[in-house]
Each structure stands twice: as C-alpha cells, then as structure tokens.
Amino acid sequence: MGYNYDWKAVVSTQSTGADYVERVKLTHEKGGHGSMGYNYDWKIEEAQKNILRTHTTAVSAKMLYQLGQQKEFTPTKLFSIDRVFRNETLDATHLAEFHQIEGVVADRNLTLGHLIGVLSAFFKKLGLEKLKFKPAYNPYTEPSMEIFSYHPGLKKWVEIGNSGMFRPEMLLPMGIPSDVNVIAWGLSLERPTMIKYGINNIRELIGPKVNLNMVQENPICRLDKV
C-alpha cells in the first residue's frame, strides 16, 4: 500500500478534543473495551503529520466522532464521493489521485447480514446482481469483506468493493454506544467506470488528456438500461 503525502509548510495539526486523543492513545497502547491493544508506544507526532487522505474512511471517522458527541444517539446513514490520494507507482490503471464512493450505516444491533443486504441492494442499482463475498482484512473493520461480481464480458469474478463493520476499538473511544454497530463499504469510482465503458487507460477518464470529443459525445449514463 502506498501512503503519505507529507505536507511541508505546516508541520503538525493542532489537536482537538484532548480527552479523545488520550482515549485513542490508551486503546492503541493498552487496549481496553475488551481488546488486547497493540502494545506499542503511540506517538502523537505521527498522528499529527499532515497527509492527503488515502481513503475517505478518514472523513467518515470524523463524522462518526461527531455522532459520538451527540447527547443522544440517532441512527445515521452517510455517504461521500470524493477524491483520495496514493503515492504509488503510476501505470495505465493507477494514478496518484482518484475518487472513492463510501457508504456508512450506524444503528443499534446491525449485523453482517444487514451489511450483505445493503451491499446487494446497492450494487443491484448499479446493475450488478451476481455477487460473492470474501473474508478480507482492514485494521479498522472486523469482520471485513471484499465484494466480487461476475463480469460476463471478462468471464471472471472481479473485485468491486471493500466493506466491513468498524471495530469496537475505533467506535467506543468516540463515544458511540456499545450496542451500536456501524457498517461501511467503499469502492473506487474510476475502476467500475473503466470496466463499463471498456476504457483501458485511466488518463482517458480523468486529467487534462481526456478527449473532449468523448465528453461531448458520450451518451448519458443510464445504469438501469442494459
């Protein structure tokens, strides 16, 4: 995984919510909330480093923290479609910046079955019905699932997204009640678009080299019409 655009001009972020920072530090170092923790020395200097976000989950986490500050918990559904940055090798299908779609549902007693249900409904709207779910790993979700869809043209199962339930170590320090589960999923915007339109080079889709004729002549995207 590539990361980390560090930001030179201002070296660190001023921290907000000093109590919250303490709780996060404790969770990393000693665990708590039923967890063994990572047992290492959490450094605030690392956390304060400015980077261009590598995924929109960073912003979802901020929104969940705000939800946790509410006097009374209210069930919430959130989504975002926005830009993310990765410092990786560039090639025909990879750029330094692209877009992610992210969905989050927070409610009491949500289960993995609900996540699978929501994903099935979501992807059905995008015209993808033949789905398979694979166990995966994210440091902040457990369980985690990758979603695969069968692509009849390519004649193989293609990964179309990543999902999971946020870990208690993440939610409880935020003040989210312990019977609330938060399910979330994400996918990139560019990859499914390239598959749908048969585009092989991502630079034909985003950036200055996009052919303006293509923009003017491409029909409206109608996902319902096969």
Partner: protein
C-alpha cells in the same frame, strides 16, 4: 496485502490432495485468501497467494497448509511445547539507544531439505517486510547453533570496532568497510536504519564470533546449511510486542520439522543493567469465554448451537468447547491477530460462510440531505453547462510552476500546500487555482473545433492558520473561452448569468493589475466588499507557458461566499 509464493506440489502434498486451479481458487476464496497468480519458475509451478496482513501464521507453506488442513478437519490444532532453556543471551545497556529488544529460541534436531530451507528464508523475508516494517522495527537472524558457543552477548559497539566475516562475502571486514560494499547491493535500503547511530548492534558468542549485525547482515561463520541440525533464532527490535510475535511465528511454523514435532527450546534473556532474567519464546495461550448467542448475533447467524459454534472455531484454528451458551476459545501463539471478541466472531462467520448468511435490510428511517456546498455545486454545474461550456475533471496536484511562475504570479506559491515527498514534479503542490488544469486540457485538445468553452468545478487548497490542519479547501468554478477572438465578453456574460441564477445582486468587477492577465484586461470579482475571484484575458506569456497558441479569457471564482 502480503503475497507469498508456494510450490504448488509441495502444498498439495501437505494438503493430501490436488486441485484444479479453479477448485483451489474457490477453496482460497471462502477461507479469505486469494490465489493471485500461477507462475512457472524453472518448470516448477508456483502459486502466488495474497494473505491478510494480520495473519502471520499464513506467511509460509507450513502455516498455510496447516490452517487449511485444520479448516478441512484433516487434523487437529497442534499444541506447542517450550522446553527449558540451556542457552542464554545477555543484553548490554549499550543497545538501549539503538535497538533495545532481543528475544531468541532454539529449534533442535531440525531436518532441512532444500524446500524447507527456502521456505525458512522466505518466511523471514515476509516477516521482515511486513510486521518488521522493512527490518526497521524487527529483524531476524538464524544461526547454526553447532558452529557457535553460548552464552551470547547482545551489545552495541562503535562501527570501527566491529570486524567480522559477513555472510556471502569473501573476507573479514570492518563495519564501515562492509557498509560501503552494501551500498551497491540489495541491502542499501536497510543501511539507513542505522544512519547517524554512534554504535551498531552486534550479537557475539562466548569466543567473540559475530553472529549478526542486526538489522543488516549475519556472519558467514554461523550460516545455516542443509546439514544444520540445531538452529538459534534471534530477533532484535525497536518494538517489544512485534519482536515477540515474530519469534512465536517462526517457532510455531518451523517446529513442525523438528524431531520433537511442535517443540522448541527456550533461551534465557538476561538484562545486564538490571539483572532481570526472562525466557523466550513466550508462546502464550489464553482462553476467552464468550456467549455463543452474542457472538452469532453480530453476524446475523441464527441457526447455530453453541456446540456448532465451538466446532466452527476449532476449524478456524481456535480450539473451542461449549458449555451451555458459553464457549471457551483457546487463542494460541499462531493467532496474534485475535485482539478482541470481534475477531473471534469474524472467524465464526468465515467458517459458516459469508455467502450463507441471510441478507437483511436495516430497519431504519433517516431523512437524507446533501451538503449545501455540494447542492450549490450541482446547480452551478447545470447553469454553466447550459451556457455551452463542457465540463472537465483534472488533477488537484500539480507542479510549483503551474500555480506560480507559469501564471506570472510567483508569490502565489507562498499560499500553497507543498508535498514533502513527491514522486514526480507533476505532483509537487496541491492546486491553489483550477486554472492550470483547465489550461493543460486546452493544450491537449488542439483538434477541437473553435471556440473551445470548458469549465471545472472543484476544490483548491490554500494555507489557513485557523484550521486544525493549517489549510482549507475552497470550492471554485473556473470557465475558459478559447477562440479566434479573446471572448472576454463571453466569460463576463457567464459571470452575470451565474449571479442572476443565484439571485446575487451584490457583486461588481474592478479593474486589476493582476500579471496573469493582459494589461488593462484583468479584473477582480467583488462580492459584498470581498474579492471572490478574477476574470480577464490571459497574458500571452501565460498562454506560451502552457503551449496554447490562441487567445483565451477566463473566469475563476470561489463559490464559498455564495453558499
């Protein structure tokens, strides 16, 4: 995600059967690993398998086959035994400033075939790469115990005082000499871990023979061969927990090749400064007691008895027993990834099969809404498109010149967010204006019929001391007209049209001397006494800098004040 390479036939032999590639892919899928590629190396078929980053016990064919066999109920979960220590390592205070932690273990009467030897090296590589963070946090040294003599010493010495015969080199050299040599090899990236350290870590035996200089290189003297029967494993680290995990992993994976299967021998670790004594490896077992009902609830599984749950967990390498609703789960030294009950819950769901879990839709009502700035963005997008402009989407990272010198506004770089480690000069800064992206698009689309009218709505980033991160995003719209004439009246008309559509009367334009524009043909856009943007005919030098040969007029404004 780490990828391991295993020899297909070795794996199938351990699994007791062979598969077609498709069958094996399916087996992997349900377990949570992925067959990424099948390659031929020297006419031997090898599998490249993607492993979850937290499963150190699946990083070699030994661990992978064992877990799959347990999953398929071909065998039970082995219990690991740690025998009493006969050797010790003394840790000198001098390492505390450079690489403080050291743990060790011994594998007795191990049988190395070429396959096993290669697997042993590969596991160390993977652990170095992943949990070891490219050796910076943890590194491993393995030695033929019969070539060296304990007790062993772990200390740090000035580089010039270190001399030994490094692995695979032809002679004895000093540390500075070997580091010079290593700068030309694959070891170069690891040298910087010791950059600036006045002392280098060193492990020696009772006769002063050097075992290793962690994290760089082992000594030639104690190197492991196919004839080695007793192995000393030493792990040094900056992170105590990860150090333990790495040692546990090597012992649990490779003790299966010892004459006393699944047995390893402890090594006593003595801290010279405090006299504190301990033994490693820890190989800790713990029991978690959990309610079967509660665990299944989170997965949405309703048809499992506590006995079923215990069986499924045992298949996932977590031996369990049910007593009423309570399940006691044994978490051993191969499962350092189990941090919380939710990790155990996931394993139940995996063994049950994610694809067997019934779908449900959350039973909750919420009222949806868009953020104001996004709602406005969509409306403005519609208006500008209706005025005959084509939308583009460009990069938010650009070069320093793109937002300063090339636009004839060199001071503008002061307000920009700089990238500390750009891979190329195209990504040195975050854009402070949408204009450079728009101009590059014009330059790349010369064959378009004229006039060319394009626009973009997106975020730019400027430094802002009041923000937590020291910077802020601003949503801006930039429109451009390029044709045989400058088209100033077109972009001015667009501004007026937009303001009318947004019901804004309180705006004006004031002539400016902005160097970006043709002299006398540039203006600030003012809204309620504040400048919210600019507009004008671009200066010919700007056009030249972006390789554009026809006149252009542009409008760029911040939508924030209009929200």
């Amino acid at each position: 995600m780490p990828t391991i390479t295993v020899t297909r036939d070795v794996l199938y032999e351990k699994l007791g059967r062979s598969y077609t590639n498709e069958e094996f892919e399916d087996e992997c899928f349900d377990f949570g690993i992925e067959l990424d590629d099948v390659v031929e190396e020297n006419s031997v078929t090898k599998f490249k398998i993607d492993i979850p980053a937290n499963r150190y016990d699946l990083l070699c064919v030994e661990g992978l086959a064992r877990s799959l066999n347990v999953f398929r109920q071909r065998c039970g979960v082995p219990k690991f035994i740690v025998k009493e220590a006969t050797e010790r390592i003394v840790i000198d205070e001098s390492v505390s400033c450079v690489r403080p932690y050291c743990v060790a273990a011994i594998l007795r009467n191990i049988k190395f075939t070429e396959e096993v030897y290669n697997s042993f090296i590969l596991l160390q590589d993977k652990l170095h790469q992943n949990i070891g963070r490219e050796r910076s946090l943890v590194s491993i040294g393995t030695h033929d115990l019969d070539t060296i003599q304990g007790p062993f010493k772990y200390q740090a010495l000035p580089p010039q005082d270190i001399r030994f015969h490094p692995l695979n080199q032809s002679s004895v050299m000093s540390a500075p000499e070997m580091f010079e040599l290593f700068r030309q090899t694959y070891l170069k990236p690891y040298l910087q871990i010791l950059d600036g350290c006045p002392v280098y870590p060193l492990i020696t035996d009772a006769n002063g023979v050097v075992l290793s200089l962690p994290p760089i290189i082992n000594g030639e003297h104690s190197k492991i061969t196919l004839n080695t029967q007793n192995v000393l494993i030493e792990v040094t680290a900056k992170d105590r927990e990860k150090c333990k995990i790495v040692l546990d992993t090597i012992c649990t994976m490779f003790s299966e090749h010892c004459a006393d299967k699944y047995t390893c021998e402890a090594v006593e670790i003595v801290a010279m400064s405090t006299g504190n004594k301990s033994t490693t490896p820890k190989m800790a077992y713990r029991t978690e007691n959990c309610s079967a009902k509660q665990m299944c609830m989170k997965s949405g599984i309703t048809d499992l008895s506590p006995g079923n749950v215990a069986d499924l967990l045992t298949r996932m390498h977590l031996p369990s027993k049910a007593d009423g609703d309570m399940v006691s789960v044994e978490v051993g030294p191969t499962r350092h990834d189990i941090l919380h009950q939710c990790d155990i819950e996931e394993d139940i769901a995996i063994a049950y099969g994610f694809n067997n879990i019934p779908k449900q839709i959350p039973n909750l009502y919420t009222i949806g809404t868009e953020q104001e700035v996004n709602k406005l963005t969509d409306s403005v997008r519609e208006e500008v498109a209706r005025a005959g402009f084509t939308e583009v989407l460009t990069f938010s990272l650009c070069s320093r010149d793109d937002i300063s010198n090339s636009l004839r506004i060199p001071k503008a770089i002061d307000k920009a967010v700089l990238i500390a480690n750009p891979k190329t000069f195209e990504f040195q800064v975050v854009r402070t204006l949408l204009l450079p992206g728009i101009l590059k698009t014009v330059s790349c689309n010369r064959k378009m019929p004229l006039p060319l009218k394009i626009f973009e709505i997106g975020d730019v980033v400027l430094k802002n001391e009041d923000e937590e991160t020291g910077c802020k995003n601003y949503r801006q719209v930039c429109a451009l007209y390029c044709g045989k004439t400058s088209g100033f009246e077109v972009v001015h008309g667009l501004l007026d049209r937009l303001m009318m559509a947004l019901n804004e009367e309180n705006y004006s334009i004031q002539q400016s001397s902005d160097p970006m524009f043709f002299s006398g043909r540039g203006a600030d856009v003012i809204h309620g006494n504040k400048k919210i943007g600019h507009m004008g005919i671009l200066h010919p030098e700007v056009l030249e800098n972006f390789d554009i040969v026809l006149p252009c007029s542009i409008l760029e404004i911040d939508l924030g004040p209009l929200v």
